[in-house]
């Protein structure tokens, strides 16, 4: 177990709360009609994002999915710019062009949120390959869901990453469901990722995705392995989304007992208990929560008061020259 000082623990707690409150408010804004289109919240899965982000070096790369608010935020993307993107404002991190499913901040090495299942696994491997060719020492971390383990790109990326011994950590956030269908209905094995690892010459690593210390520890080990040049890891983090798959989905297809059981294992509540049992005063933890809440409200105000994107930007940034001309 990587030994952690109190400061690190408080950072992890703060990170999870920032993500939690960000998502909670995002959901409210969606129901208000201020966030349009769709959202896929990471509520309940914060420990995975927080544990890995805390263990990564600043120039390590994150590749995530449409369920990527947590990951992008915790790599350090400015909250106003993320909220601005969700509200489709010119202050948005992608200028409003990406929306909830495509949050990206390359300045923080948050290399994109990908909305088509599986596509970003080979992309993450490619970025890791470039790191080896260029000798940058970077590691790619690629987050995806349980359902993603059944698409071809998963198989192709895992095989190639291992054969080329690339510095990439594949993290399957197993939240037990695809959209509305349980993963158990569509795989013949128990663990969608871990039980496939041997097909790629890897050992299946399973971690309690609701225990941020455990995630932090696995992150350290797998990142270190990658940096030592020993190639990829495939981590399966067992977790659960508190809400539905997306938008206003109430998630009614999930048995009540299952939901209760998992809500009782809320990664943030669990961690608060652990921290208090270690003698950290609740008042301090409360202040962290209040600060996070204040930060989110400030980000919302900033986004609400921002303008819509300039109509002229419709035709910008198709090409590297900034424009969109297809003829001459």
């Amino acid at each position: 177990m990587t030994d952690m000082d109190e400061a690190t623990r408080l950072d992890l707690y703060e990170a999870m709360l920032r993500a939690r409150i960000f998502e909670k408010r995002t959901h409210a804004l969606f129901l208000e009609g201020l966030v349009r289109g769709t959202t896929h919240l990471g509520t309940g899965q914060e420990a995975v994002a927080a544990g890995f982000a805390a263990a990564m070096e600043p120039t390590d790369m994150t590749f995530c999915t449409y369920r990527g608010h947590n990951h992008t935020l915790l790599r350090g993307a400015p909250m106003e710019a993320l909220m601005g993107e969700l509200l489709g404002r010119e202050t948005g991190i992608c200028g409003g062009k990406g929306g909830s499913m495509h949050l990206t901040d390359v300045t923080k090495w948050a290399m994109g949120s990908y909305a088509i299942v599986g596509a970003h696994l080979p992309v993450a491997a490619g970025a890791a390959w470039a790191a080896t060719v260029r000798g940058t020492g970077q590691v790619s971390v690629c987050f995806f869901g349980d359902g993603t383990t059944n698409i071809g790109a998963f198989h192709e990326a895992l095989n190639m990453a291992v054969v080329w011994s690339l510095p990439v950590v594949f993290v399957c956030e197993n939240n037990l469901y695809m959209e509305y269908t349980p993963i158990s209905a569509v795989i013949p094995v128990e663990h969608p990722a871990a039980d496939r690892a041997s097909a790629y010459g890897l050992e299946g690593v399973i971690v309690d995705g609701n225990d941020v210390d455990a995630v932090f520890d696995v992150a350290h080990q797998t990142l270190a392995k990658a940096r030592r040049g020993e190639g990829p890891s495939l981590v399966e983090a067992l977790t659960y989304r508190h809400g539905g798959h997306s938008r206003a989905d109430p998630g009614k297809y999930r048995p009540d007992e299952e939901v209760e059981e998992w809500l009782a294992r809320d990664p943030i509540t669990l961690y608060r208990e652990r921290l208090e049992s270690m003698g950290i005063p609740g008042t301090l933890l409360d202040r962290i929560e209040e600060a996070a809440a204040a930060e989110v409200e400030a980000a919302i105000t900033h986004a609400r008061t921002a303008d819509e994107p300039d109509p002229a930007t419709l035709m910008t940034d198709v090409w590297a020259d900034g424009g969109s001309a297809w003829r001459r």
Partner: protein, 324 residues
């Protein structure tokens, strides 16, 4: 005669065919127990059972490949791709296998299958969940292409697609799911390759598809009321077979043609129609053929930009007035 939404019409059309023919089955992601993420297949599993209406893993190559194999062995399967954008994840199966196998085997293999998919923009979903891809399918020899604009056409074309012995890519437009229309009771069976003249006029012919049909109709209305220009509006309904007769008659009658495409400009279906008219009816034209399309860009997520990108009635009106 009942009012029904475009969304409900999808399930109605599928149910009509499953009722009629036990060889009709349907698979896709979340289509069975959950009734589809757009609720277009609600009630079908309860009604026809888990063997005929079945959920799949997230494996589009498997979904489409299995639909192809099932069609080779006596079924008339329907496969759903949740969003048309995902056609790209199984394009080899669709464009190289399903489309070409009959021809390459000298006619030995018949593939009576339908691939249904939610298509189009306007939902603020961003560049990877908003594309209008009818032209992708139109460009592939061996695929038929349907894209209904009304609830009654959803039912009729679904029936025609299921009964057709060739592969049909069936585009259901997200923006139209909530649209309502009258749908008579009893069996409804449409025809692939028959455009619908939605309005007749003398001055200009406007050709549209799917969600662009209401846009064209709104434009025609404005043109009539505000500019005294009377337009014929043709809803193509299917791109393959293509009702060139209707288009050429429209051009002959009005001497003007404007196409309204939701897809980005280059190589869209409107280009094909424009080239057919340029080749076969140039002497009928009193003005250049104009295409109103989404610019050649990916679709942005945010509302004000997406609304600028997708053709609006105003842009169609402008195009018509450009040569009046």
């Amino acid at each position: 005669m009942a009012e029904m939404s475009y969304r409900e019409a999808v399930a109605r059309g599928i149910a009509q065919e499953m009722e009629r023919d036990p060889a009709v089955v349907m698979i896709g992601e979340d289509v069975a127990a959950a009734g589809g993420v757009f609720k277009t297949t609600e009630g079908l599993q309860e009604r026809f059972g888990p063997d005929r209406v079945r959920d799949t893993p997230i494996s589009e190559e498997a979904i489409t490949g299995m639909v192809m194999g099932a069609a080779m062995n006596g079924l008339r399967p329907i496969g759903e791709l949740m969003f048309s954008d995902f056609l790209a994840t199984c394009w080899d199966i669709v464009a190289n296998q399903i489309a070409k196998t009959r021809y390459m085997t000298g006619g030995q293999v018949t593939l009576p299958l339908v691939l249904r998919t939610a298509n189009g923009g306007g939902a603020r979903f961003g560049g990877q969940h908003s594309q209008s891809l009818e032209n992708w399918a139109m460009a592939i020899p061996g695929l038929k292409v349907a894209a209904p604009a009304t609830p009654i056409d959803v039912v009729g074309l679904m029936a025609a697609a299921v009964r057709d012995d060739d592969p049909v890519i069936f585009f259901e437009h997200k923006k139209l799911f909530a649209a309502k229309g009258e749908v008579p009771d009893g069996e409804i069976v449409g025809t692939l390759g028959e455009a619908a003249i939605r309005v007749r006029g003398d001055d200009v012919t406007i050709v549209a598809l799917a969600a662009m049909v209401p846009v064209a109709l709104e434009a025609a209305d404005t043109l009539r009321r505000e500019h005294g220009i009377s337009a014929t509006v043709i809803d193509l309904r299917t791109l393959v077979p293509l009702d060139t007769t209707a288009v050429l008659e429209g051009v002959a009658a009005t001497g003007r043609l404007v196409t309204v495409e939701e897809n980005p400009r280059l190589c869209g279906w409107g280009a094909e129609i424009s080239s057919i008219v340029a080749e076969e009816a140039m002497w009928d034209l009193d003005a250049p053929v104009l295409r109103v399309t989404t610019p050649h860009i990916p679709l942005p997520a945010t509302a004000n930009l997406e609304d600028l990108a997708i053709p609006s009635a105003d842009r169609v009106v402008e195009a018509v007035l450009a040569w009046s």
